[in-house]
Amino acid sequence: MMKKIILILTMMTGLLLAEELSIDEIVKKIDKAEQVESSFSIGKQIITTSSGKKRTLEMESYSKDKNDKQLMIYTAPVRVKGDKILMLNDGDDIWFYTPKTDRIRHLASHAKKKKVQGSDFSYEDMNSGNLGKDYNCILLGVEKTAGRECYKLELSPKPSGPHYSKLILWADTERFITLRIDYYEDDELLKRLTISDVQKISERWVALKMVMKNLQEGGETVMEMSEMELNIEIADKIFTTNNLKKH
């Protein structure tokens, strides 16, 4: 009986704390928690198809100016080695470069919903984004996910946002790190992103593992970071189209 009372009191305290913040404040805190001055990471994407076939891609990622500039360089396998994705202006402008043809392509907005290298992440999913800028947000409540108290938010994309009709996002009430996102199209659940292995690096909480499940096709893509550095010096010039052809 005592245990139940403690549990109810704990939940009520959580709710009361959650209600202290307005939706704008929550969104600002999530953006602040997820936007770092600069970052460098090494990771891999493991794509598993619905039939169980696996493809593994390795990559290096750079970001600067609170994710306004992002660059991904594929390092393996040889089939995609040297392919680069440059995102500028919070992901509004995306360029793709492949050394096979030595060509740089600026992606039109419709192409941002295409799968990146056959994974379950689209170009727009890869963009870390900016909740305050790209979505109208509604707080649905507080809910536990992955063992953590989370704010549950409904996000309706603005014209500058992705093509989904809505997203439901769960963000840690304490660390303000996103732990889960459900992607909807016309009220149909398309994909689910779950985020785990949250660690403290350079005094910030950072997620090192992401799993995107494609609930329509049945496949999934796991993205794991094996190395991550935050707030480091990265030259501006690497985030330019002029630099993409540099081997």
């Binding site: 198809t49 619905s50 039939s51 076939k53 493809r55 593994t56 396998p77 040889v78 089939r79 080695k81 402008d93 096979k100 043809t101 030595d102 060509r103 392509r105 600026h106 992606l107 039109a108 907005s109 419709h110 192409a111 919903k113 295409k114 799968k115 056959g118 093509h163 199209e185 096709e217 496949g219 501006d236 010039k237 985030f239 330019t240 189209t241 002029n242 540099k246 081997h247």
Partner: protein, 391 residues
Amino acid sequence: MKRLFLVILLIITATSIFALEFDFFGYYENQTSSTLNNTPDFLSYNKLRLDFDKNISDDISFNSNIVFQTYHGITSVSILDYLPKELLTDYSLETGIPIDELKGNYTYNSEDEIFLDNAFISLYQKHFNLRIGKQQIALGTGYAWNPTDIYNDKNILDPTYEKRGVNAVKFEIPFSSEGMITSIASIGKNWEETTKSVHLKQFLFGYDLELSYARSQHSSFDYYAMNENLEDRDLFGFSFSGALLGIGIWSETAFNKMSESEDYYQGIIGADFTFENGLYLMSEYYYNELGQQDENDYEFADWMNLFTNGTNLGRDYFYLGESYSLAELIEWSNYIIVNLNDKSFTYTPWLSFSLNDNVDFDLTANIPYGNDDSEFSQFEENIAVRLKVYF
């Protein structure tokens, strides 16, 4: 004996490269095609490309690749077999050369080859980049046609296939984060025969914009007098790519000022879109002032230009492409190229499978249709399989 030599050369090269600590990779590709008639003809090639790259310092890199290629099956064909019979008979009568002899004179042999496809040094400095050597040069925004690209001929049946290296010097001056002035010179015997171009590129208001100027020597062959005519060609080009109302759009135009023959204009305009279900559609219109509006005006030289460097016969073309993911790791594409003047077309279905992280398998066909004397009716119905293994 030749193959043994190839193998020994390959081993020596690979050993030397490993010793120098180069980054070593490449691919093996086999393509086998067959005509779809009563007595199918086969042509197959094996291609081994070995890449050797080395970053000498942060600002200097060396990149190279060697291609070993062998051909099998029907490796010898006469280009004249693909010409309308009436035109060939007329040409034979006018030149006084019997058809069989003519066919022999215009026989194309696919011979085994080893060549240095790319070998270049890149130097990256704060205010300029310099690349010297045999290198891929990609110009223009078009998918099936690139009127502003004077360095490459394009195969419209496989337009994204890698281009062969061009022996050139490329000098780039970045003047803003998304702006660049590029000058290219592809070395000829002398300055007159050196193809050179200057390009001004800038990303502005969501569009990649490029102005270009090129000067080259244009070669045309008189198949009756049997002599080559060279003249200066000045190309003034403009290209852009971007999006309008969510639809991808691009265009590329080139005005060619000729020193002796008539000036001409070539241009493309294209659009593409990806639907919510992943279906990708693209289209491109090509205007070619060099081409003829009436199929009866196609001349012997026009056909020869088509088969030797891919210059299309007609004036107006339409390219329509579709691509859809049939299942994970299986891509189904369909392309149709229409000559709007003679109403002939060729349809190319293309099925791509990803068999492994580094193994791709493609199954494709080419199904042409048109009147007897039309452009695409001369193409043969064929089917091809391509296997590519990266290492």
